[in-house]
Assembly symmetry: C2
Homo-oligomer: 241 residues x 2
């Protein structure tokens, strides 16, 4: 049984300009791994309609699920809903249920639901809403694409709303061993181990800090007994670590 495959599309100039260090990709990757969904690809594009529509069409056709982050606020640079509608060839307009959520929220705050805020109720035709307990303005799901906010606290809340609705697979289990030898020394036995366990993913991640160097070897797989077994072999190969 293969786990569902997923991709993420991060939309926003702030990541590409180096102003902001990504947090949502890291968060989603961890949540999907726990949920048994294989994040296969991430793309980061700027606030450019052609780039967003093109990337979205590539990703939604290649993967079971696609999550986007960013560009669904009230300002002029928030163009994600329009781009998603364009990618699917559907219309986008203010929708009653989304407007009602916002109206109730701003009424509670004593704030006007002005034209800019109303933009956040623009939902592509045929989409369903994703709950946003943090700041109310909803995300949405259309077919296999899940459109979420870029602010990390809101993104995380939306992921929590979404995950129970996604079919996961076997969670990917992992164990790691820190080996204080150069990768060049462990490469050959490690390659053989990878050949002996074709269903496992065995990765070697070198580190080098303050004159100490080595590699973290991570063994991943859906079958816990296999992971255990391969890790036992690895520990026997490098008993002094």
């Amino acid at each position: 049984m293969t786990n569902p495959s997923a991709a993420m599309l991060v939309i926003g100039d702030e990541i590409l300009s180096g102003r902001t260090r990504d947090a949502n990709m890291y968060y989603l990757a961890g949540e999907f791994t726990k949920h048994g969904i294989d994040l296969k690809e991430v793309r980061v594009v700027s606030d450019d309609p052609d780039a967003i529509v093109g990337a979205l069409n590539d990703l939604r056709r290649a993967h079971d699920q696609v999550v986007t982050s960013g560009g669904i606020g009230p300002t002029h640079d928030d163009i994600t809903a329009d781009c998603v509608a364009q990618a699917f060839g559907v219309t986008v307009d203010v929708r009653d249920d989304a407007r009602a959520l916002l109206q109730a929220h701003y009424d509670r705050q004593g704030t006007e639901l002005n034209a800019a805020r109303l933009r956040m109720a623009r939902i592509p035709e045929g989409a369903t809403l994703i709950d946003n307990p943090v700041s109310i303005a909803p995300g949405f799901t259309i077919e296999n694409v899940h459109v979420m906010a870029g602010v990390p606290a809101v993104f995380q809340a939306m992921v929590a709303s979404l995950l129970p609705n996604l079919t996961g697979g076997a969670p990917l289990l992992s164990q790691s061993l820190r080996i204080f030898r150069g990768e060049g020394e462990i490469a050959e036995p490690l390659g053989k181990l990878a050949q002996d366990y074709p269903d496992l993913s065995i990765g070697s991640y070198p580190f080098q800090k303050d004159g100490i160097y080595g590699a973290n070897v991570v063994i991943r797989g859906a079958d816990g007994a296999q992971v255990d077994h391969a890790m036992a072999v690895l520990s026997t190969l490098f008993p002094d670590t």
Copy 2:
């Protein structure tokens, strides 16, 4: 005059599994911005040959420069050099100059240059080497693609080796203003400002923490006088921030 466009390809399961939080994309984005090179797109793919070759061919055709990170070490999961050679349709083999660098390095350390380590001297035909002052094993440039290590300290050293060889443009200047009002309130005047300055990129990045909320508005452009002027207008619009 338009700045050169660039893309980055991050290769590695460790990012997609959520084990490691990306650092290289964030670093490269900042360096390119200072150097006047517009990072337009980033893709993160797993250690899968088809995914790497496909993404690399897309990116190198669409952008002036492409930087890759990851997968050039000595272990079985280091397949980047082979994938790059495949993408360009050239051979890849141990090359004398790269081997000499490694041989001298391991001689100094009194370590054997074994078969695994020698893999790091495999360079696609026609490439030039990128200096690695940290751990010697070189990166390489082939046409507009620059192949670098994934370990952040090594990646950063290779970026420093590479940057003087890349033609930059006008550095993208930016100024930001922290406005303690909801995005819904500032959206309309901000949209007008963006229309008045079509050469500038004006982004709004909302924050929300401990009950305090607002937006960081960032104005970016190559023309410092224009950025100054737009920022002065913005400050006049929101004088109390």
